[in-house]
């Protein structure tokens, strides 16, 4: 049984009488201990998907169809109070900006102790001990001293580690990491990815790793879901995706990764931009930019079709599954 199962999710921005479909027919599953990479451009719907899992969509965005199951239980129809038992405890979440994720007015120790106490019966003193252990485990030197520091006094990499420690201090079974390395420099990125790997290895935490960086995915994930304009266009094991991308969009993404040793003539590039949600074209949303588009792509929207080792939403694979 998958740990997280999203079925036919649709999210709309509802404002007055106007509605804008931001996410449509998204189905995803994450097994226990699995790392699922979710890639796509900004605005493709990655973060919306993640936020809907922990019920933290910002107001105009509303789930209007589909269901979300966490650990065998429906979660999309829960009240805020019920959701709170899932947040942090079963599903932890880390956001992109580590500086703004921490409350600037409190020491990181206070924020950690508070969170640990909410999720356990530990005394403040014991919680503090646990906080020190967590920080040490994630590679912060002199963790006791760091507890008294304010967020602005730490470097970006240290802050992101604190953020991860906060997200996993109650041992959630799934960690949603939304662009956890985007704001960091390359060497710090590597350290944060090491922390995530460690989490998976030692705590057996499943991870939903959201990024627009195909390279990070190739390095970390077991399986990849590629999103484009509010839909999933390909869902396949990472090896398959890297070696034989099925959807033309995925192929273009893979073609855009520069490689050190291999001599490639030039990097592929995708012309044009993802259409805004308010102006999605008929048929496949990618067809205006797709080198392989044909008549049907302009008329009908392709469903997810079996292809290679996974599934892809492209008419190229109609009839060969």
């Amino acid at each position: 049984m998958p740990l997280l199962d999203i079925q036919h999710l649709r999210i709309e921005f509802v404002q007055g009488r106007k509605r804008l479909v931001a996410l449509d027919d998204v189905s995803l599953a994450i097994d226990p201990e699995e790392v699922l990479g979710v890639v796509g451009e900004s605005g493709a719907g990655k973060s919306l998907t993640a936020m809907s899992v922990i019920g933290l969509l910002n107001p105009p965005a509303t789930v209007t169809r589909g269901q979300i199951t966490i650990d065998g239980r429906r979660s999309d129809n829960l009240t805020d109070r019920q959701l709170r038992r899932i947040r942090g405890k079963i599903v932890g979440a880390v956001f992109q900006e580590s500086l703004t994720s921490l409350n600037p007015l409190y020491t990181i120790g206070r924020q950690l102790v508070q969170t640990i106490c909410v999720h356990s019966d530990l005394t403040a003193r014991a919680a503090r001990g646990r906080a020190v252990d967590l920080l040490a485990e994630f590679g912060l030197s002199t963790p006791e001293r760091q507890l008294d520091a304010y967020p602005h006094q730490l470097s970006g990499g240290m802050r992101q580690r604190v953020v991860i420690a906060l997200a996993v201090c109650a041992n959630p079974r799934l960690l949603i990491a939304d662009e956890p390395t985007t704001a960091l420099d390359v060497s710090t990125q590597a350290q944060i990815l090491a922390v995530l790997r460690r989490l998976r290895r030692e705590y057996r935490t499943a991870i939903m790793l959201i990024t627009h960086d195909m390279g990070v995915i190739a390095e970390m994930a077991d399986r990849v879901a590629v999103m484009y304009a509010g839909r999933i266009v390909e869902d396949a094991p990472v090896r398959e995706v890297v070696a034989h991308p099925q959807h033309p969009y995925t192929a273009a993404l893979i073609g855009a990764i520069p490689r050190l040793r291999r001599q490639v003539g030039r990097l592929t590039r995708i012309d044009g931009a993802m259409p805004p949600l308010s102006a999605l074209p008929r048929g496949c949303a990618f067809h205006p930019r797709c080198p392989k588009a044909f008549a049907r792509c302009r008329e009908e929207r392709p469903p997810m079709l079996s292809s290679g080792g996974g599934r892809a939403a492209c008419w190229l694979f109609d009839g060969n599954g």
Partner: protein, 319 residues
């Protein structure tokens, strides 16, 4: 590992004016559906402006013409009360002046004074803000320090002071002639700071953006860059602040006129009308206070609602 986004994203920079126009139109359409209050306020504000412009033709009586005054008509109540007269819809004051005409001419004065004052403040504030944002360094530090000091003083006090000093400086004969310009300058000087600070912030942010840097490298004259690239970007926040500033200026003008240090008593202003009416409040002639007061509040309220709406529609980052 390069990130894929930089290669895929082909951001286009929309032409500013078209963009703003579209935002306004779309916002307007939204509001028509979502908030009838805004529509009413817009109509009201528009109505007041029309009234102000065409006051001499719209007002049933010419209140400035002493010859038409008729003391027999003094202290008439509004038309629906006993003793009311259709010629004087909202009643008359102790001199027999028509309240409705007084209010129409008063609104004209209020809008004229506050409009010109805010226009001056906007020009000054934009100029100083652009200068500070562009030049930076010491001149910027000095000007912004001055702005900060002034900001720690309430506008009304500054206006009172400038106005007070202004009347001390000019001779008594000039008083009535100079009062309105002095008042306008005083209100303008109390309003420039906020605009200057916003413009400075925006222009500093714009200055460091790539397209402006590129324009500089290309050797385009700074004035041209300011005009072409930076000014359009600060237009939205300035428009919002200026609109809300007009509401504030209307209240300031009325307050000063009420205190007897604003518009000279010979010129009708909503504040002056209320001041005169105040003397008759106790004896029961409430209409002399209530109608100009109501007009004043409606005027300020409609401008405030329009300002609020502009802020929501244009959504500029205001500090």
């Amino acid at each position: 590992m390069a990130n894929a986004r930089t290669r895929i994203a082909g951001g286009t920079r929309t032409r500013f004016s078209a963009h703003l126009g579209r935002r306004l139109v779309r916002g307007c359409a939204d509001q028509l559906i979502d908030s009838p209050a805004t529509v009413v306020a817009l109509l009201l504000a528009f109505g007041f402006c029309t009234m102000a412009v065409f006051a001499p033709w719209l007002a049933p009586h010419d209140t400035s013409d002493v010859g038409t005054l008729d003391l027999m008509q003094a202290l008439r109540p509004p038309v629906w009360l006993e003793g009311g007269d259709w010629a004087y819809l909202l009643g008359t004051d102790d001199q027999g002046r028509d309240m409705l005409s007084g209010i129409i001419f008063g609104a004209r004065t209020s809008l004229l004074v506050s409009g010109v004052a805010v226009l001056l403040a906007t020009l000054l504030g934009t100029a100083v803000g652009l200068f500070c944002g562009w030049v930076g360094g010491r001149p910027d530090a000095v000007l912004m320090r001055i702005a900060e000091v002034q900001l720690s003083f309430p506008a009304i006090l500054i206006v009172l002071l400038i106005d007070g000093l202004g009347r001390t400086a000019v001779s008594t004969d000039l008083h009535n002639v100079a009062a309105v310009p002095v008042l306008i300058i005083a209100i303008a000087l109390s309003n420039w700071v906020q605009i200057a600070r916003t413009v400075r912030g925006s222009s500093m942010a714009e200055k460091n953006k790539e397209y402006v840097q590129a324009a500089r490298v290309l050797g385009i004259h700074p004035a041209a860059i300011l005009l072409r690239h930076i000014l359009p970007n600060i237009f939205a926040p300035v428009l919002v602040i200026a609109t809300l500033g007009i509401a504030g200026a209307i209240l300031t003008e009325a307050t000063l006129s009420f205190l007897g240090v604003g518009v000279p008593p010979t010129q009708p202003s909503l504040g002056t009308l209320i001041r005169f009416g105040n003397n008759f409040l106790i004896s029961g002639e409430w209409w002399m206070t209530v109608f100009p007061g109501l007009a004043l509040v409606l005027l300020a309220l409609s401008v405030n609602i329009v300002g609020d709406w502009l802020r929501d529609v244009l959504n500029p980052k205001l500090s």
